[in-house]
């Protein structure tokens, strides 16, 4: 597997120079190009146009906006990072995208409709990017699980927009939208997919009861408007809500189904009715606690996620790509120091992998929609097979 990475739109080069660099990337004849960037880069039609002009039609371009993206082993905040992949073995890819409606039911059907076209012989895994605000990620995931069936790896993330929680973008097959979910399916015996995700942080303070919630909208904690509780804890920083709420995700101590350990982060708020929008569902009657995290916790969880993702890596495997799908909450708490996480991942993953990724508003796996994790998708091909 051959990979090549390029940063464009960072202002370090002129637009023409960027196009030139892009054409060099195209020379690789990549089947797959991941694009992660700032929301602004997606909103600006020039990125789409440049990709359209320079990249071969046969290749797949997929990605989304984030609250920071990862390229050249560093956190990037401007422009977009392009990572091109050319498989040398028989790895087949197929993409799908769906527009999103409103409501939990629409999210569920969108999830189902997104992956149903990808079902087929040799499907090993699906990678999903979805808009990051105003979406019930749990419902989408339920639909994805139903649509894709058993035995297929599910990985993905909700897009981000540098903590403004307004417009998040996804891109697939030349279409950029702030209201869609996109997916790529990986097929064939040669493809190697590994996945690891570990959350960071520990609950603190009193146990609170979710007294009113619907889907991913949290109305009340202990009978008080959820926003008021957050305001009380954030004090002067309350003005930075909803972003500041990322510093205080909710850890589910126990939900009505007996599930524990789910973490819910803020993806928006409705000041009018005092409700908080969460990345995923939170059932009424759940018991929750605020959570906090620090650099040490984050670094530890990064190592654990890296090792889990590499479990699929064979002894003789070389190269490959690690997709870091990080939580915006971690990025918010560490700010620029999130670089520590990227360096830790590099140390743990080894020197010969290409690393890209972004920080988003929710991490998707087969098990659940989670926040506050770093999830890592390891992508490679096995040279011994399928040649």
């Amino acid at each position: 597997m051959i990979t090549r990475q390029l940063l464009i739109g960072t202002g370090l080069r002129t637009a023409d120079e960027d196009e030139k660099e892009l054409s060099l990337l195209a020379e690789l004849a990549p089947q797959l190009v991941f694009v992660f960037g700032a929301a602004g880069a997606f909103a600006d039609g020039r990125l789409a146009a440049a990709l359209e002009r320079q990249l071969p039609k046969s290749g797949i371009v997929i990605g989304c906006s984030g609250a920071g993206h990862v390229a050249q082993d560093a956190l990037q905040t401007g422009g977009a990072a392009l990572t091109a992949v050319r498989f040398e073995r028989d790895v087949r890819l197929r993409t799908s995208r769906v527009g999103l409606g409103s409501g939990d039911q629409a999210a569920l059907s969108a999830g189902r409709n997104l992956v149903t076209p990808l079902r087929g012989e040799g499907l090993k895994g699906v990678l999903i990017f979805c808009k990051g605000t105003g979406i019930n990620g749990s419902a989408l995931l339920t639909g994805v699980r139903e649509g894709v069936g058993e035995g297929v790896l599910i990985a993905g993330a909700l897009a981000g927009d540098d903590f403004s929680f307004s417009r998040t973008y996804t891109i697939c097959a030349g279409a950029i939208s702030d209201n869609q979910a996109v997916a790529v399916g990986f097929y064939g015996e040669s493809v190697v997919l590994g996945y690891g995700a570990t959350e960071a942080g520990e609950p603190f303070g009193v146990v609170r009861k979710v007294t009113r919630a619907a889907g991913n909208v949290l109305f009340e904690l202990d009978g008080r408007p959820a926003v008021d509780v957050y305001r009380e804890f954030l004090g002067d920083c309350a003005g930075q809500l909803p972003a500041a709420g990322l510093a205080l995700p909710l850890s589910v101590v126990k939900d009505p189904q007996g599930e524990i350990g789910t973490i819910r982060a803020i993806t928006g708020m409705d000041a009018a009715n005092g409700s908080i929008l969460l990345a995923g569902e939170l059932a009424a009657e759940s018991l929750v606690r605020f959570m906090r995290t620090n650099l040490e916790d984050i670094a530890l969880s990064t190592r654990m996620a890296s090792f889990a993702a590499l479990e699929e890596r064979g002894e003789s495997d070389t190269g490959g790509l690690a997709l870091l799908l990080g939580s915006a909450g971690r990025r918010y708490v560490l700010d620029d120091e999130i670089q520590e996480e990227i360096e830790t991942a590099r140390d743990a993953l080894g020197p010969d992998l290409m690393i890209t990724g972004f920080y988003g508003y929710g991490e998707l796996s087969r098990a659940r929609l989670q926040n506050q994790t770093l999830s890592i998708l390891y992508l490679n091909e096995r040279l011994g097979a399928g040649a």
């Binding site: 009193v206 804890f233 954030l234 002067d236 708490v333 620029d336």
Partner: protein
């Protein structure tokens, strides 16, 4: 970590991690401030360039500080808010505790709590002071429950198992101490309830002590009642065995009195002990608790005497034993019947068998007198015995009508009769007795006014008569009530459209119409009488026996039914 961060910041702002040591050299030169070694012009140029980029570094550092400060503010704020919430929670908890304590104290049960360490926690109800006679807080549970020392190791093991969680709590609770040895003899029952943490781990055990003294007393009374019923059943079904027991007790009483003067004291004491032991068993079999207890204590005392008998005590035993036996016999005199001890052993024989034997006797030579003797002495019963059953009816009727009536008084020679022969007649008399209470006997106030005893008197007189070479039986049943009122009967007959010749009958004649079918003088139909059936049933039974009846009445003084029936000595062919 800080160094790594600094290097990252330098790299970001100055575009170098200082691999060539330029920054280090600059720093060294600055720190020595005016050192001997002057920087080279190249160094100075490079330093100037780096310092030119310093504002960028300061921006990066400033940004890092601002972020760190923001995070610190959030963290600080979170700590304050949490602390406030915990304070509030603690206050609420204290309030709840106070309320719970007040509620617990208002209950009659004693509650207290112990944990894994086996120590009682400060939470307990006021009733502990009374029921478990201590304040359990801070004390070992084994002390609180007053467990004897030899049981403590076992108890500690039990506590360990409870908190181990490997076995079902309820099963284990069953085998824990269930009662508390109360110093004033109260029966205190112990229950155990688990309290779990939110993770489902047993946190502590609540002990609930309940005073069940009165419940146990009720249970004891119930058991006594059951035993009494058992005793009645046993005595009535094993009457002969009971008779044997009574005789044995009497014999023992005699022996005890005799032993008082016996010479061979040792052997006598041994035999006596054996006798007492077997009697004790019999007394227990008949649920005669008091007798059993006294026999037991005699037995123990006699056992203690072996080797040194004290016959002087025996007469005392005998007297006590006799007194208790007589008490029991008196208590059960109704059940046992009159002359229980004189009758000796009895045996129930069906009438059918008796009739068959009587027939065989008639066939035997010289059988007739033997047969008559057999029937008279063995089969026949005294008239009083045949009619005694109506005492119950009389009392029952009297109670219903708020009247009082004495038990039937039997007078005369009390002739013996073959009960099956007169069965229909005897059963028909129930109407007579009921009527006597309902219409004859006045209520107590009325009787008092008439200078009669409060309780009505009913007398049955039986006698035998010879008429025309035949044996007759005369039975008179009289009461001392208000008598039949001829005027009222005449009026009633008139209402029923009786012909003039009937209405013209004399008073003595007119009262006989009470035996007419459907006649009743009562204004009200009651459960007891008044339906107009009844007396005519008696008339019919008398007629079937080819007997006759007379009715005499004196208003205000009472009525008398006089029956003349053949005294038959032939059992009917078909017997029930």
């Amino acid at each position: 970590m800080t160094e790594k961060r600094l290097i990252r910041q330098l790299k970001r702002a100055l575009g170098t991690e200082d691999p060539n040591g330029e920054l280090a050299a600059l720093r060294a030169w600055l720190e020595k401030s005016g050192a001997q070694e002057s920087p080279t012009p190249e160094q100075l140029a490079r330093w100037r360039e780096l310092v030119g980029r310093l504002p960028g570094l300061l921006d990066v550092v400033d940004r890092a500080y601002a972020h760190a400060s923001r995070m610190t503010v959030i963290a600080d704020r979170a700590v304050k808010a949490s602390t406030r919430e915990f304070t509030e929670s603690t206050r609420n908890l204290m309030l709840s505790n106070h309320l719970i304590k007040a509620m617990l104290n208002s209950l009659g049960q004693a509650f207290f709590v112990f944990d894994r360490s086996g120590l009682c926690q400060p939470l307990y109800s006021k009733a502990c002071e009374e029921l478990i006679e201590t304040v359990p807080a801070g004390r070992p549970i084994a002390d609180v429950l007053r467990l004897p020392h030899h049981e403590r190791a076992h108890f500690d093991g039990w506590v360990g198992l409870l908190f181990d969680g490997a076995m079902d709590f309820d099963d284990l609770a069953e085998i824990g101490p269930r009662t508390f040895p109360h110093s004033k003899g109260r029966y205190v029952w112990l229950d155990y309830r688990p309290t779990y943490t939110s993770e489902g781990v047993l946190q502590s055990v609540v002990v609930i002590a309940t005073d069940k003294t009165s419940e146990r007393e009720a249970e004891r009374l119930l058991q006594e009642k059951q035993e009494f019923a058992e005793m009645i059943l046993k005595i009535s079904t094993d009457r002969n065995q009971f008779y044997h027991f009574v005789r044995e007790v009497r014999r023992t009483v005699g022996l005890l009195r005799g032993f008082a003067e016996l010479g061979d004291k040792v052997e006598g004491a041994r035999e006596l002990r054996r006798l007492l032991h077997s009697l004790k068993g019999l007394a227990a079999a008949f649920y005669l608790r008091k007798l059993k207890e006294i026999l037991h204590s005699f037995e123990s005392e006699v056992a203690a005497m072996v080797g040194d008998p004290r016959p002087d005590r025996f007469a005392g035993f005998g007297g006590e034993l006799e007194r208790l036996l007589d008490e029991e016999l008196f208590r059960h005199r109704k059940l046992l019947g009159p002359g229980f001890e004189k009758q000796g052993m009895v045996r129930e024989v069906p009438y059918r068998a008796l009739a068959g034997f009587a027939r065989e006797l008639s066939a035997a030579p010289q059988g007739a007198p033997l047969r008559r003797k057999f029937l008279e002495e063995l089969v026949a019963v005294p008239l009083s015995e045949a009619l005694a059953q109506f005492n119950g009816v009389l009392q029952q009727s009297a109670v219903c009508l708020n009247k009082s009536v004495a038990p039937i008084r039997f007078e005369g020679e009390d002739p013996r009769i073959l009960a099956p022969v007169y069965e229909d007649f005897i059963s028909s008399l129930i109407h007579l007795f009921r009527n006597a209470v309902a219409h004859g006997i006045e209520d107590p106030a009325e009787r008092k006014a008439a200078s009669k005893p409060a309780a009505g008197i009913i007398v049955v007189t039986g006698s035998r008569e010879m008429r025309g070479g035949q044996e007759w039986l005369r039975i008179e049943i009289s009461d001392d009530g208000r008598g039949l009122d001829p005027a009222k009967i005449r009026q009633k007959l008139k209402e029923r459209g009786a012909p003039p010749e009937v209405l013209a009958e004399s008073d003595a004649e007119i009262i006989r119409h009470v035996f007419d079918a459907g006649f009743s003088t009562s204004d009200q139909v009651s459960e007891l009488s008044g339906r107009g059936v009844g007396l005519n049933v008696i008339q019919e039974a008398v007629t079937r026996l080819r007997g006759s009846l007379e009715l005499r009445a004196t208003p205000g003084k009472g009525s008398c039914f006089s029956f003349l029936l053949p005294h038959l000595w032939e059992l009917p062919e078909s017997l029930p």
